[in-house]
């Protein structure tokens, strides 16, 4: 029974990692948002499973935040935004998918190499969860670096943040997880509102970051 519980947790964390890889190569914005929704749903399931396994009721709240805020509200508003900005059909040029994937695999290996020996004495469940979580965080960073489109960068950041929530939920009985996930949700809400309210498109013609770079010309 114990083993099965751990297996289920690993399956969920592994699925989250796989979804992170799917985010890496997806070049359509609407497709990207769909995958992010999946990412959030898996996160919510994973956190709920941790709540059940650790018998920590406050984690159910974190799972609920993930389900409602990240899997419903955020994708909905992002879809709305890309429609309003008329970029919902945009196909982003994602350069070097093969190389990006290879770097991704390397990052996963790196996080396993770093985390597993460091956590040798920890609970087996949290031990492997934290390694997965680090991999998801690094993949999120990789996505933020490789993408030029603001919306994709934000999705990269949000997947990174999902990795952090997974880590926090996996740390046995860590207090303040709910507070931290609320604080992060506020941060993300700000980012999303930021794109919309500041109407980056109006100011810069396009949400491409290269356009932001253009603004910097003439300044030193």
């Amino acid at each position: 029974m114990e083993l099965l519980t751990i297996d289920i947790a690993h399956v969920l964390a592994g699925a989250l990692l796989l979804t992170s890889f799917m985010l890496l190569y997806q070049d359509r914005l609407s497709g990207l948002i769909n995958i992010y929704t999946l990412h959030a749903v898996i996160l919510s399931l994973s956190v709920a499973w941790q709540a059940y396994y650790q018998d920590a009721h406050h984690l159910y709240l974190t799972a609920a935040i993930a389900a409602i805020f990240k899997a419903l509200i955020i994708p909905f508003s992002l879809r709305h935004i890309i429609k309003r900005l008329r970029i919902h059909r945009t196909v982003e040029v994602v350069g070097g998918v093969g190389i990006t994937m290879l770097i991704g695999i390397f990052l996963v290996a790196l996080s396993l190499v770093v985390m597993l020996p460091a956590t040798a004495s920890a609970d087996p469940l949290s031990r492997e969860d934290i390694a997965f979580a680090l991999a998801i965080v690094l993949l999120g960073l990789l996505m933020m670096v490789t993408r030029r489109n603001v919306v994709s960068q934000i999705i990269g950041f949000m997947s990174l943040e999902n990795g952090l929530v997974l880590a926090a939920a996996g740390a046995n009985g860590m207090p303040l997880v709910v507070e931290i996930s609320v604080a992060f949700s506020i941060l993300i809400a700000f980012i999303v509102i930021g794109i919309f309210l500041f109407r980056i498109r109006e100011r810069f013609d396009n949400v491409e970051l290269s356009e932001l770079d253009r603004v910097r010309g003439g300044r030193s």
Binding site: A118, T119, A120, S126, N172, I180, L187, S220
Partner: protein, 482 residues
């Protein structure tokens, strides 16, 4: 925790929080500026009380010798900045760069920032500290983007994204610290509270602590503005309202540094973990030298001094990385002096930019003739920041350099090289701006100069004679830092 200390530390967080709501509800901008000023003044007075009461811990806040230094410094600069900000905002309203609604929002954010910073400094556990640093980041992002120009929005966006990544990495480190502590301290709050963490640190899993520190150093280091994670800092300083540049340089960078120092103490307490010093030394030297080179090619006056902040945060990180009583003492002194001097410089720079209607260095000439008070304050500020005697920064830089020479002579070479580079760059820019044929003024400004004078005279005083109380106080803290 004794009741008066409990009252004081809660007041430090509570006053700004209440004031933030009060100014948000106050439509008249002059009155909200006064509320802002009074609240900051009251917070500062409460911080002074910390100097006389006995440090203790308990509850969600705690006070020890280390955070008292930071709290007193940041509430003092918070107070003088609010005085300066009143006259700055007046001018911005008159010239129509800001509306009264903007200002209402600005004051609310200013007080929220003070609240978040005091909370981060006084928080007794690592989770709460993280949340407070995050809130402080958010409020400053909103203030940096306040002018809504493309440049301001771009700066705010860049700051936001880089700050968020930094914050995210710091959270991962925080979780790892909890996981390292949990087998020893058991589940729950104990494994996140500073006092218990420090007591049991020798028993934590050292490898876990190592990994955690790398994340914390990179995460909070982003907020300190250390190279190579500094990219947000010059933009955020240049495009936001100048009082915010002063607060960013004078306070927020210190708050992030405080977080790094706390975790450094935790690692030092564990004999088997890596020594955190070399990492801090490397990042510090990289920041110092990178920033010193960058100083030569700056065309924007606020950007120039933003790079100078990176340079000085590098020196401070270097000093704390060296460790030991003398270097820590020098680091603390340098941090204090830098905060005071840099905010004074930004106070003058803000008014100079208002008078000249530009931030371009090339368009600012002959200030000492056309605006003697502003011009000479800028000269005094720059002379202080480049470390000329007899001012305070000379003392602290001298201590940093001499303690480095005594222990690691090889490291002193890049350090002195960076210092001299920055010295030359700032002096070069200063002569152009302060002397020669004056450029045309675009407007008049009712400058409130006394915050500048107050800061600079404190710096001068520290350079000439550092009271023995302060010396023993800083020595105690330096010993605490290990």
């Amino acid at each position: 925790m004794s009741s008066d200390l409990f009252l004081v530390s809660n007041a430090l967080v509570g006053i700004p929080a209440v004031a933030a709501i009060a100014v948000a509800l106050e439509p008249a901008y002059r009155r909200s500026a006064i509320i802002n000023l009074c609240a900051s003044g009251a917070t500062f007075l409460f911080a002074l009380v910390l100097l006389v009461v006995e440090p203790e811990s308990g509850g969600y806040l705690f006070v020890d010798d280390l955070n008292i230094v930071f709290v007193v410094l940041s509430t003092f600069i918070g107070f003088t900045t609010s005085v300066y900000s009143a006259s700055y905002i007046d001018h911005e309203i008159e010239t129509g760069r800001l509306t009264t609604r903007n200002v209402r929002f600005y004051h609310a954010m200013y007080q929220s920032l003070m609240c978040a910073m005091n909370l981060a400094l006084l928080a007794s556990n690592i989770g709460l500290m993280w949340v407070a640093v995050e809130v402080a980041t958010l409020t400053t992002v909103l203030m940096v983007g306040m002018y809504r120009t493309p440049h301001a929005l771009e700066a705010a966006w860049k700051y936001f994204i880089l700050g968020s990544v930094g914050i995210a990495l710091a959270l991962f480190g925080t979780i790892l610290i909890y996981m390292a502590a949990e087998p020893v301290l058991g589940q729950g709050y104990d494994a996140m509270v500073w006092t218990t963490l420090m007591q049991k640190a020798p028993q934590f899993n050292p490898r876990m602590l190592n990994v955690a520190f790398v994340f914390l150093m990179l995460g909070y280091g982003t907020k300190v503005g250390l190279a190579p994670m500094h990219a947000w800092l010059p933009d955020a300083h240049a495009e936001g309202p100048t009082p915010i540049s002063a607060v960013l340089s004078g306070l927020l960078l210190n708050v992030a540094l405080y977080a790094v120092l706390r975790f450094k103490m935790l690692l030092t307490a564990n004999a088997a973990a890596i020594t955190p010093g070399p990492l801090m030394i490397t990042l510090g030297l990289a920041s110092l030298i990178m920033a010193a080179f960058m100083l030569y090619r700056r065309g924007d006056i606020k950007r120039l001094f933003a790079y100078s902040s990176i340079e000085h945060m590098g020196i401070i990180a270097f000093a704390f990385g060296m460790g030991g009583p003398l270097a820590n003492f020098a680091g603390l002194l340098h941090m204090t002096m830098h905060s005071l001097t840099k905010s004074a410089i930004f106070f003058s720079v803000g008014h100079i930019a208002q008078v000249k209607g530009t931030q371009r260095i090339a368009d600012i000439r002959g200030l000492t003739q056309s605006q003697p008070a502003l011009g000479w304050s800028l000269v005094a500020g720059v002379v202080a920041i480049i470390g000329l005697p007899p001012l305070g920064i000379f003392m602290s830089e001298f201590l940093v350099v001499s303690s480095t020479f005594a222990r690691q002579p090889l490291l002193a070479i890049p350090l002195v090289f960076g210092l001299l580079l920055a010295f030359g760059a700032l002096l070069l820019r200063l002569t152009g701006m302060a002397f020669g044929e004056p450029s045309r003024d675009q407007g008049e400004v009712k400058a409130s100069m006394w915050p500048v004078y107050a800061h600079l005279s404190l710096v001068l005083l520290a350079g000439i004679y550092l009271p023995s109380h302060v010396v023993t106080w800083f020595q105690n803290v330096a010993r605490l830092l290990g």
